[in-house]
């Protein structure tokens, strides 16, 4: 066990070390390359970092549960867009006309309910048909996106409500509304995963599904609940973001699933399930946003950003494997 301790520490801490490295690099490089007079590690800039991490971050928390469970959800980007459409469109529905600004919570709840329902549909299909979650959600990624387009053609769906925007732009104790949502979601999901029976069962199912079945855990409904959670969180992410921006293009949220999965994997969650930590996922989300922000700060252009992000993902995977090597005598398979 002893030789493992250091590598375990390195592994757990790796993402934070990476974040520190990014901060140092961009601060130093920013001094030479940035036209801005402001330092990279400015307090306001760091506060923005949290806020800007929210859309991906909120979904990533759900993805951590799904991946710990041994599944994957590729449809989150489409769910995100669909819920945004519901959120903004429902504010103008005639039945809510008399509500005034009271329509806001109603639309929120509606959007969250729709997100949960779409997640539940994914979960139900995975449960009842036994088709692999990758395929099920690859399909619904297309299908849900199709629904988004069918809803309003190719037009953006818009409803700018300034009350809502003002709320979304609020800063409480210096933190933006979106940041609060991110922090609360992180805390709640951490609690769920570490303190509740449901969370512990999620690890057990991802780790050894047969064992979980034998122990009488109802794997099907359990997974469906998790898909509902990620559906809810994708909707919440949409609610938080579109409350502030008020208009959604039908192709919004495309590729979000890839960013979310990247963040979760950077945070060290095993793709095969059974292991993963919410706090590390949080680190993974920050690391990605920091990378984007930092590359923009030092004036890197689009092609460099793509290249760097792709290579870093592979490099992290490689490092993770090196840390897990057991030494020369390991079995070569």
């Amino acid at each position: 066990m002893k030789p493992g301790t250091l590598s375990t520490f390195l592994k757990r801490g790796a993402i934070w070390g990476f974040i520190a490295l990014e901060l140092i690099f961009f601060t130093v490089a920013g001094e030479f390359l940035s036209v801005s007079d402001k330092a990279f590690m400015d307090v306001d800039n760091m506060l923005l970092l949290f806020k800007q991490s929210a859309p991906i971050g909120i979904i990533a928390m759900g993805m951590t549960i799904i991946m710990v469970n041994g599944n994957i959800d590729l449809s989150v980007g489409a769910i995100y867009a669909f819920c945004a459409v519901i959120l903004l469109d429902s504010m103008t529905w005639p039945i809510f006309a008399g509500l005034g600004d009271a329509v806001i919570p109603v639309s929120w709840i509606l959007a969250l309910a729709v997100g949960t329902a779409l997640g539940a549909l994914n979960g139900l299909i995975v449960w009842k048909t036994g088709v692999d979650a990758f395929i099920v959600t690859l399909g619904s990624m297309l299908g849900y996106r199709g629904l988004v387009f069918m809803y309003n053609g190719e037009q953006p769906t818009s409803h700018l409500n300034w009350t809502l925007v003002d709320f979304a732009e609020q800063q409480f104790l210096g933190l933006h509304t979106a940041t609060w949502f991110l922090l609360i979601v992180t805390a709640v999901i951490w609690f769920l995963m570490n303190r509740t029976v449901h969370g512990r069962n999620a690890y057990a199912i991802g780790d050894n599904r047969a064992a979980a079945v034998n122990a009488g855990i109802r794997v099907g409904p359990h997974m469906m609940v998790n898909f509902m959670i990620i559906g809810f969180l994708a909707a919440l992410s949409a609610v938080v973001f579109y409350s502030e921006s008020g208009s959604v293009n039908p192709n919004d949220g495309e590729l979000y699933e890839l960013w979310v999965i990247t963040a979760v994997v950077l945070g060290g969650t095993k793709l095969t399930g059974g292991a993963g930590s919410i706090i590390s996922t949080f680190g993974g989300v920050l690391a990605i946003q920091l990378l984007r922000k930092g590359l923009a700060h030092i004036g890197a252009d689009t092609e460099t950003v793509n290249l760097v992000i792709g290579l870093i993902l592979i490099a992290v995977l490689f490092l993770d494997r090196q840390l897990n090597l057991k030494g020369k005598e390991e079995l070569k398979v």
Partner: protein, 503 residues
Amino acid sequence: MTEQTPVLRLENIVKTFPGVRALDGVSFTVLPGEVHALMGENGAGKSTLMNVLGGIYQPDEGQIIVSEQPAVMTSPLEAKARGIMFIHQELSLAEELSVAENVYLGELPKKRFGLVDWDTLYARTDAILERLKVGFDARTRVGDLSIANQQMVEIARALTVDAKAVIFDEPTASLTDAEKVVLFEVIADLQRDGVGIIYISHRMEEIFKITDRISVLRDGSYRGTLHTRDTDEEAVTQLMIGRKLDLSRSESTHELGDVALEVRGLSCGHLFEDVSFHVRRGEVLGFYGLVGAGRTEIAETLFGLRDPSAGTILLDGQEIRIHSPVDAIERGISLVPEDRKGQGLVLGMNCRDNMTLPQVSDLTAGPFVSDGAEVAIFDQYRDKLDIRTPGWRQLVGNLSGGNQQKIVIGKWLSMHPNVLIVDEPTRGIDVGSKSEIHNLIRELAAQGYAVIVISSEMPEVLRVSDRIVAMYSGRVMRTFTSDDVTEDNLIQAISGLGDGAAA
């Protein structure tokens, strides 16, 4: 005993799968405080019966009666709730979770709002671990435990509830002798508490040591129950396979050839150190030791799957280096691995393709694989090894364990190796096929192959080997010849006692 109320009664259970009558009217009774062995060849219906009992399958006919109450087992949880506990043969643990979470898997103690009650969980688990006299606590991560200790975690599960009946399915497969003793004490404890125990094992010596009665299944039907006291191995075996078995050791009557393989001072990290031995053509060299003694790792090193940190390997007197299985195969070393399903076979492939896999590149006509050559090889070894399969197109996953093992052996025999290494040749294989495979190994030696057999079962090593290397904790303790080996000195050697400590 007949006056007691049975804890568990199975009445006329029938279970059919499309086209197969897997269980055909099975009935038997488990009394409180008895250890009841359930025996049968693989495919006789034991697992199906247990799955019916555990609520994974619903029986088509018949009844399960727990404490004289008819029960419908709808799920594993239902079975558990009625006091029927299972200890599974294949480890069913979540490695990333703690011991406590594994022991109480599926029914973690809850507080309000679905929160885990950690204090209760750890306290209860520690109490159980205390009974099992293990050297780890409830908070240990299961992945950090040895295989044997993981098995103990599995066993700890049986003690979480006031069980009426506990089913042990091959519990000793990976336990050391010392751990077996603890297990048998636990079983005795349960017996004293009036728990009925179903004990499933292929190991006769255990059956005769701890059970009270033996029920036998064959081909899905119930063949009778014997009182252990009043019977012997032969009678049980006959009931199981419907014929007599030749259990005697076939003495080698053939001449030994030259030394085929010699190993000098071979080490691989801490897995094994300074190992030396040799094997001649026509000879079976047995490796005996506990799980984790380094036997399998030696085989893997000889097969190029691990890099040795020191020592030399000589094949026919020539020093060689083996970097990969490809190297090993080229030099005529073959390995029948211990994990048949995980390492030996591609279960989704048909019998022929599995058998010809190592040489498929050589079986070509032009750029393509030659169908005829492949089928010829398959037919030859199917006949030679008496592999029972409807045809070569059958997927290997659908065969019984014994036939699967013969496919793996056939795969390597068809490569005409100089040295054949067989790791746990009969793990999970029923008695009938077991003796066939033992005879096969003897025959191979007689034909001039140099054979190395690794086994954890003493009767097996004693039966097939000409010489036996005893290992303990990565070192060779002593090498026995068939004349000087006894059960006692062999056990001493593999426990790190004995006189070979200096080796």
